[in-house]
Amino acid sequence: MPLVRVFVTLKPSLLDSAGKAVSDSLLKLGYQEVEKVRIGKVIELQLESYDEARVKQMCSQILANPVIEDFKVEVQK
């Protein structure tokens, strides 16, 4: 059964205020090499069968909001 991972991230043009807070914390902990942090989410879909078009449709219909988010699909067959 294919396992599909959908990575949803805020569009680069938008300020990710949670990511900014984490970045500030990392800098405070001494990780000076951190330039930027962006937070997103991973959605795992266990499917009976994989159809690329249908998964993309799932993403644009509900899993991601195209107004503010980008998505990337990874399939493990």
Partner: protein, 238 residues
């Protein structure tokens, strides 16, 4: 005038809305549960605030796909009045009835305080009575309005920006824009002007017990005779 107050699993401003509509706006109002389809007999829809579906996935994402919201979309397309407040605004954006989206406040914190608003467009039913600077409370963690630059330009050009966050004097500044919204946008209209989404809660500012009643200047759209009553003017002045 009969208003449908939509109840979704996780709505928590539904009772405030119903009370305000019946008690202060003097209109008929009934709850409509999210798995219903029928809005027959209703003249307006109020999508209240809360944390529908626990804000899982994204605020308003799953609520926008619930059965009643398809009927709300048709209702809006017929030109009838639809208002989404707070989570209700997020839901109307997710539904595609309103442009843009609402994301985590720029300062990351949940903000619960009064804000001042100024109506930009005074031609829509929702903003016609919104004269001067309005004092209305907000309570949200994800209320930062965002859209791509082209959409913001279109909103400006089509006069779809209903309200902006301003200071008490009615001026725009960074401090007044409490959640960091693009263009300090607190509320937007659809192109026809019958659908309004806004983060502040007008239903929490309609009763003299709160000390201010500026919410009537927005919700007055649902009862025009009440909104224009001169007897209200002294109460509205502050």
């Amino acid at each position: 005038m009969k208003v449908a107050v939509i109840q979704l699993p996780g709505s928590n401003c539904d009772q405030d809305a119903l009370f305000s509509l019946r008690n202060d706006l003097k209109v008929d109002a009934e709850y409509v549960w999210h798995d219903q389809h029928d809005l027959t007999g209703f003249d307006a829809v109020f999508v209240p605030g809360g944390f529908s579906y626990g804000d899982y996935l994204r605020c308003g994402a799953m609520a926008a796909r619930s059965p009643i919201m398809e009927s709300v979309r048709q209702f809006a397309e017929e030109g009838k009045l639809v208002l989404g407040v707070c989570n209700g605004f997020q839901i109307l954006c997710e539904l595609g009835l309103l442009p843009g989206a609402l994301i985590l406040n720029a300062g990351q914190k949940f903000i619960c305080q009064d804000v001042y608003l100024k109506a930009e467009n005074r031609t829509s039913p929702w903003t016609r009575s919104a004269e001067g600077v309005l004092r209305i409370p907000i309570a949200h963690g994800e209320g930062r309005f965002v859209a791509d630059p082209e959409t913001i330009q279109q909103l400006e050009a089509n006069q779809q920006i209903a309200f902006r966050y301003v200071n008490q004097q009615g001026l725009l500044n960074q401090e007044a824009n409490v959640n960091g919204s693009m263009g300090a946008i607190a509320g937007v209209l659809n192109q026809a002007g019958n659908v309004l989404g806004l983060m502040p809660h007008p239903e929490r500012a309609t009763n003299p017990i709160f000390g201010y009643q500026d919410g009537l200047k927005i919700l007055g759209a649902l009862n025009p005779c009440l909104a224009s009553k001169e007897s209200l003017e002294p109460a509205l002045a502050h």
